[in-house]
């Protein structure tokens, strides 16, 4: 793996992300955690949390962070430029030929397929995050007899439920407060249990 391959990998992620933010998470997870094992599932999940509470777009934050962890400053540049390159080309073209793009039915048709697929992938990413926080091992154990079944990590269950409750209503706590609150709760439970 060199800087250019890293750049191409991020460009691929940028090209297949529709909807921004969370839509990018399953693609990052697939390429960087599962396929190339650049960072561990735990560190990836931590990084997603950090990317949400630091200023700036989540996708850019994540790409910069992972690139930096992989290859230092050059990697951070490769990550940032990589995820931005498809936009720089395609969106600039779309901005120039705006009217042609706006009412193009074929683009709407393609998105009619892509949007629910992205949703399915995001839902799958929830399981992945649960494995690195709420459960003590992979959920594969539930249906594969070769892997032991997972245990449940109760302090995380409480953080999960509280986060769910404070963001489900009309008035939401928002990611920054939620995640900072979860960190405090985690430390507190760690110290008293």
């Amino acid at each position: 793996m060199n800087v250019f391959t890293l750049y191409l990998l991020f460009a691929k992620i940028g090209l297949f992300t529709f909807g921004g933010g969370y839509a990018m998470i399953p693609l990052f997870q697939d390429e960087l955690v599962v396929r190339h094992a650049f960072i561990s599932p735990e560190e990836f999940a931590n990084m997603v949390a950090l990317a949400q509470i630091t200023p700036g777009p989540v996708g850019l934050n994540a790409a910069t962070y992972i690139g930096y962890r992989q290859m230092g400053l050059a990697g951070a540049l490769a990550g940032t430029l990589g995820v931005a390159t498809p936009s720089l080309i395609l969106v600039t073209l779309a901005a120039v030929f705006f009217l042609a793009f706006r009412r193009n039915r074929r683009i709407q048709d393609i998105l009619y397929g892509i949007r629910p697929a992205t949703l399915g992938l995001i839902a799958a990413a929830v399981i992945f995050f649960a494995e690195s926080s709420i459960f003590t091992s992979e959920l594969k154990g539930l249906w594969s007899s070769s892997v032991p079944g997972p245990g449940i990590f109760w302090p995380s269950v409480s953080a999960f439920l509280i986060a769910l409750i404070v963001n489900a209503g009309r008035k939401k706590a928002g990611p920054v407060l939620t995640l900072l609150g979860a960190a405090i709760l985690g430390v507190f439970l760690h110290l008293i249990l």
Binding site: A49, G120, T178
Partner: protein
């Protein structure tokens, strides 16, 4: 498309400064930036019209990549053509790049401690809740017909049970399926209103 009067047209350094500021202070990125951009570009400066804003939001959602970068490219283009597009994109990319560099280099030194890992375990569980909520919200919007439901379920199952299949391939095939099936036209009309 309405071109602003020449007196209203921003100079590139001013354009850079405003996008830089928005990117540096907005946490979460993506569509959360829209109200901030409206205040800056419509109310305070009149560099864009209401119609520009609506068009931009519509176009951004049908383009791949990071939403904030895409918005910067389209708005920058509308305000000052290609130099505007690239200036705005650069301004959006720079703040998170530097803030993440600082965070990434500090994070490695604290991540080993037991209290810190307890905090992060809890934070990961909260992230899990946030992603789940956004998936539910997206699902309520998208899953109104058999085709999107089928695509979402298939994408979910493939991603969970067949990790050897590339997430980008899932997205590409779903786009192809949408192209063949075609989006219902009345839904398209409904989205515009």
């Amino acid at each position: 498309m309405e071109t602003p009067k020449s007196s209203d047209r921003p100079r590139l350094p001013a354009l850079f400064a405003v996008f830089f500021k928005i990117s540096a202070v907005t946490v979460g990125g993506g569509l959360t930036m829209i109200p901030v951009m409206e205040r800056e570009f419509l109310e305070k400066r009149r560099w864009l019209t209401e119609e520009d804003m609506v068009d931009t939001v519509a176009l951004v959602q049908s383009m791949p990549g990071i939403i904030a970068v895409n918005m910067a490219l389209i708005m920058g283009y509308r305000m000052a053509k290609l130099p505007g597009a690239f200036t705005a994109a650069l301004a959006v990319i720079l703040p998170p790049f530097f803030s993440i560099l600082i965070i990434a280099s500090c994070f490695a030194t604290i991540s080993g401690q037991e209290t810190v890992s307890a905090a992060f375990r809890s934070v990961r569980a909260a992230v899990c809740a946030l992603i789940l909520l956004s998936a539910v919200k997206l699902g309520m919007k998208l899953l109104k017909r058999a085709f999107p439901v089928a695509v979402a379920v298939l994408a979910f199952l493939v991603f969970v049970f067949l990790p050897q299949v590339n997430a980008a391939l899932v997205i590409a095939l779903a786009g192809l399926a949408g192209w063949i099936v075609r989006a219902p036209r009345e839904e398209e009309e409904g989205r515009k209103s």
